[in-house]
Subunit: 324 residues, 2 copies
């Protein structure tokens, strides 16, 4: 059977079935990071493979930014479980034409992100490869034994999102079109800020469920709802969209937020009574705004976007890089 | 600067300098696995990147064997630190032409090895890539807090090695030459047995230093000696070489053992009084022979092979896949 027939998520489901059953207290596939029980406590464990031409293009990605981002996106996965990133291994596939200076800049970028978030790259592996490949595996600590999984959302919870949505996708579209890229959009694309500090504050308010927004809000909120067997109503007017004034026509801020991807913001649900207080304390401690964008509903699969008072389906247009 | 000018180990040194300093109690680069301190105890953390055309050729590597081996070689790294492998993440780069059945067989092989050694693959990532890439990151537990590092060898220690040396390299040469491959050599190449059970017995005898033999005994014993700042004298007559009777001429068993690679046997040093007893108990418990092949000496860099009573340099001809 061809991969294009099953797609990325179909493949992951099939391979997941071959892994076996997680023991009590562990979560394997199906969240931002695996949750493991070690003799002395809980561990968060996550991995991402970044491939040249698929996840990044060196024509517009300086090596230090690539290194920074490779660490940042894994930190984001640990943060999305309520944890703190600690240690990473980085395996590099190096193609002909890559030079030592390039790799040193790549590592300097990894170091910069690591230092900024209290973690460290402690080693890895290196091999020849036809494409540049950056494979990161990262360990984190949850706070105590408590992790925040995707599957805990409850009807009546308020849905919140940190920062803003759509900037990285806007930056990527401008880069690809060869157009000037405003520095805010460039930074969002090349130096996403994993919400590690925000989570340190937020977890005291006990969110019920959390995910990081890497494939666009519609897809990722969809994953959270599916895992929790609930629905969601999102108010388009409350989404933290980018300001498209001054940008080329054709950039639709709402579409970028819902389907654009690579935001690495946190989307979480929390009981209504604590939502405003949690948002205020995160902003006071970190400067990052938290927006209350909607509500968790009973109906599993019922995902609704309200635009100008009219309800429409909140459709996930997510990106599947195994399909043509 | 070009990679070919610095080579694999030169590159690793340069990149290692960029990682920063490991805190007290941790070991980052420079051993088979990183040693990390988590709130509840010590963790072993290792990663290997396997690339099609560099580490394996699908013309003679069935997918189930590739999966088995990808897990086995990482288990070997944890065993070589005196630890027990526990959990792995596997990131796959999948090229066009690879089908779902192939990946399911790959995962079935990973599962087979995992089940055999009490560990589990708990997730990972998947991406398009021009070459098939299998990137494994594996966590293990040491026994208590004690790890067996490369750097603990002391003059007077006996040097020991498990199993036999050179079979995988002999199998690879025959495969590449299109010649028939005896099943023992094929198994050594495609299904190496990580010495996890042997280590469970061995660590009770407190070896001073250990490494797994992946690049040939000369290179790996050399790494152990360099890390320990000692020398070594190895008696060629006591090496567990393969029997070349019936194999094509040109396969030199001594050369394959010293420079061939991919044995995934353990090479360790232990105080002389405990060596024979340790060897006997490992064999009694696991059926795996342990050979006492030489002695650790004072002189750092002094590595000697004794052949028929004549001392010659024990030269490492190790493989550097970043050099032409």
């Amino acid at each position: 059977m061809k991969l294009s027939e099953v797609g990325e998520f179909g493949l992951i489901d099939r391979l997941g079935d071959l892994l076996g059953e997680a023991p009590e207290g562990e979560t394997w596939i199906g969240d931002d990071a695996a949750v493991l029980r070690a003799p002395g406590g809980t561990i968060l464990f996550t991995a991402d493979l970044l491939v040249e031409g698929v996840h990044f293009d060196l024509a517009w990605t300086p090596p230090a930014d690539l290194g920074y981002k490779a660490i940042a996106v894994n930190c984001s996965d640990v943060a999305a479980m309520g944890g703190t990133p600690r240690r990473a291994l980085v395996s590099l596939g190096v193609r002909p034409g890559i030079e030592v200076d390039f790799l040193e800049a790549l590592y300097a970028g990894m170091r910069e992100c690591s230092d900024a978030f209290g973690m460290a790259v402690v080693g890895g592996d290196v091999s020849r490869c036809d494409q540049l490949v950056v494979s990161v595996a990262l360990l984190g600590n949850p706070a105590g034994r408590r992790v925040i999984e995707r599957r805990g959302a409850r009807p009546g919870d308020v849905i919140c999102v940190t920062g803003s949505l759509g900037a990285a996708a806007a930056g990527l579209r401008l880069m690809k079109a060869g157009q000037p890229v405003p520095s805010l959009l460039r930074a969002a694309l090349l130096r996403p800020v994993p919400r590690v500090r925000e989570v340190e504050v937020l977890r005291r308010f006990l969110p019920n469920a959390m995910i990081d927004v890497s494939d666009g809000l519609a897809a990722d909120l969809g994953h959270l709802c599916d895992a929790s067997r609930v629905g969601a109503t999102v108010d388009a007017a409350r989404l933290p969209l980018i300001d498209t004034a001054g940008l080329p026509a054709g950039l639709d801020a709402l579409e970028l937020a819902l389907g654009g991807g690579e935001d690495y913001e946190l989307c979480f649900t929390i009981v209504a009574e604590r939502a405003a207080r949690a948002a205020a304390e995160v902003e006071a401690a970190t400067g990052t705004r938290v927006h209350l964008i909607g509500e968790v509903t009973e109906e599993a699969g019922g995902r609704v976007l309200v635009v100008d008072g009219t309800a429409q389906p909140l459709a996930a247009s997510g990106w599947d890089h195994l399909r043509p």
